[in-house]
């Protein structure tokens, strides 16, 4: 069966609109992917009919909400193939998921002189929490560099990872370079030395089916809004053996077992890490988004997305003076580039006038900007609902705008 893009696009009514008088071309999917109708309807219906706080009351609406929230957790567990629902923690997004691990794992396992390893291509969300923790614990943050083509320098793994390394945090797919990192190989190498690995899956989940047991990762973090779900909801998958040993991240409701004024005992997993009222509407929306993605033929999607990325790359390369950042053999989802003599802000502003939405700026990845010695980039990021015609419109727009400078 081949993918029916026009049928899929009908599920995303937001795409069918004009921006500045031109049909919208949405090439900012790596920032926020759009939500299909079923997700929006599910969340609306829930808000209209069911909304009540979870786990706290005997009344019908509260019970229904609790059931829906826990069933969303099971949907996520099933999707990432976690062993048990206790290993699926709802957060506000990838950033909170990583902060949670950096804090709680740090408290339990990181001491003076220990080392944490990230990579040079990380999003700030997978650098800063570790830096903060290292500062607090007196530990050292190290980074595996990447080559100019965007590939991670895995050959340097052995010189950077040492006996002092306590955890490795690495992105599945780079939000800037699009590089798909060999995470399975890295995890198994790390495990040979008993080092746990956290995967930043924010850009991984939109393109890959994740099986945390097959990967054997210790933590996998992702966000709802990158996988056609709502914002403000995310997931932290963590192996029980780590989560059990980690202290809570935040204190408050739901994460407690019993509170006295002198001492508190904590709730069991996953609630130990879910302080405060969770974003249950978001969780229900995320579950609906996962169901939507599960109903698509993943193999077909992958073929389409790969063909799309290749076509877009080849087309953009025809533009004189256009430089693409990141051309790793294993790549997904994004093309970041600059055109000689044109500031990304100018290009982004003018593309918007033509109805084309791209991301411009530092892409929350200063070290990547520094690597290439640039201040900013333009990033076009794609989804399965983008059409090949849009590549042509994009190409023509760039040619037209280039002539203005």
């Amino acid at each position: 069966m081949s993918l029916d893009i026009s049928a899929i696009r009908k599920e995303f009514p937001i795409l069918d609109q004009k921006i500045n008088g031109k049909p919208l071309i949405y090439f900012d999917n790596a920032a926020t992917a759009q939500r299909p109708l079923q997700v929006i309807e599910k969340m609306d219906e829930f808000s209209l009919l069911t909304n009540a706080n979870i786990h706290r009351a005997t009344h019908t609406l509260a019970n229904k909400t609790t059931e829906a929230f826990e069933s969303a957790r099971e949907t996520v567990r099933n999707y990432v193939n976690a062993q048990e629902v206790a290993e699926v923690i709802f957060t506000h997004g990838t950033t909170e998921s990583i902060n949670l691990v950096a804090f709680s794992f740090g408290e339990a396992f990181i001491n003076q002189g220990d080392e944490v390893v990230v990579t040079e291509m990380e999003h700030h969300a997978n650098i800063v929490p570790w830096q903060m923790m290292c500062q607090r614990r007196g530990a050292i943050l190290k980074a595996i560099p990447f080559a100019d083509n965007g590939e991670l320098c895995t050959d340097q793994f052995d010189s950077i990872v040492t006996d002092k390394t306590k955890i490795i945090a690495i992105t599945h797919v780079s939000n800037t370079l699009g590089t798909v990192n060999p995470i399975a190989a890295i995890i198994s190498k790390a495990h040979e030395r008993n080092i746990p690995v956290l995967i930043d899956g924010a850009q991984g989940v939109p393109h890959f089916r994740i099986d945390v047991q097959a990967l054997d990762c210790d933590f996998y973090a992702f966000s709802g809004h990158k996988i056609y779900g709502p914002t403000g909801i995310g997931v932290l998958y963590g192996k029980r053996k780590w989560l059990d040993q980690m202290p809570p991240f935040m204190g408050g409701g739901e994460m407690i077992d019993r509170v006295t004024l002198s001492r508190t005992t904590y709730n069991q997993l996953p609630y130990k890490f879910e302080a405060g009222t969770p974003n249950y509407v978001g969780a229900i929306g995320l579950a609906s988004a996962i169901q939507f993605v599960q109903n698509l033929d993943h193999q077909e999607l992958t073929i389409y997305e790969n063909q799309f990325l290749t076509a877009a790359t080849l087309k953009l390369k025809q533009i004189e003076g256009l430089k693409i950042y990141g051309e790793a053999p294993q790549k997904a989802g994004v093309v970041s580039f600059n055109i000689d003599g044109i500031h990304p802000f100018d290009l982004g502003t003018l593309l918007d006038q033509l109805g084309i939405a791209v991301r411009t700026g530092r892409l929350c990845a200063d070290p990547v900007m520094d690597h290439f010695g640039v201040e900013n980039m333009v990033r076009a990021s794609f989804s399965f609902y983008n059409t090949f015609d849009e590549i042509d419109v994009f190409y023509k727009a760039l040619i037209r705008l280039k002539a203005m400078f």
């Binding site: 990304p344 100018d346 900013n376 400078f405």
Partner: protein, 142 residues
């Protein structure tokens, strides 16, 4: 001419453009024409950093007036910077403080001065006003 008269002049200049392309092409043109800031002033302490683009703003207080020099790495921003300099440079602190850059709204480029646009322009206007406040205070204390 007063600041308001120059603002009106700018609005008139832009009223001739029907197409957004022409408007931006003109901004790019005046951006290109803006004399570059003296490299010795293109320093960290004069930098107004936006996430999207950077603006450098240098000032001197001569004969009761503030002379501004500014530049941006993005051309559209530089064009708008040129317009802001046209109205605010070589003015007394009082004049600067009494006037808002409403021409940007009137030429349909308001989005570039909104707080959600991190291009450094709004911060530049704020910074110019801060200099005006400071020089006004100094003048009063003399």
């Amino acid at each position: 001419m007063t600041i308001d008269e120059i603002q009106k002049e700018i609005v008139d200049e832009f009223s001739g453009f029907e197409d957004w392309m022409d408007k931006y092409a003109y901004l790019i043109e005046i951006g290109n024409e803006l004399a570059p800031i003296d490299p010795k002033y293109k320093v960290e302490s004069n930098l107004i950093r936006g996430c999207q683009s950077r603006v450098w703003l240098h000032q001197e207080f001569i004969g009761g007036k503030i002379i501004f020099e500014a530049e941006s790495d993005a051309l559209i921003v530089k064009g708008l910077v040129a317009l802001l300099l046209r109205i605010y440079s070589d003015r007394t602190p009082k004049e600067i403080l009494a006037s808002e850059p409403r021409f940007i709204d009137e030429i349909g480029l308001r989005q570039h001065l909104s707080p959600t646009r991190s291009n450094g322009l709004l911060a530049m206007v704020k910074q110019m006003k801060l200099y005006a406040v400071a020089y006004e205070k100094i003048a009063q204390n003399k």
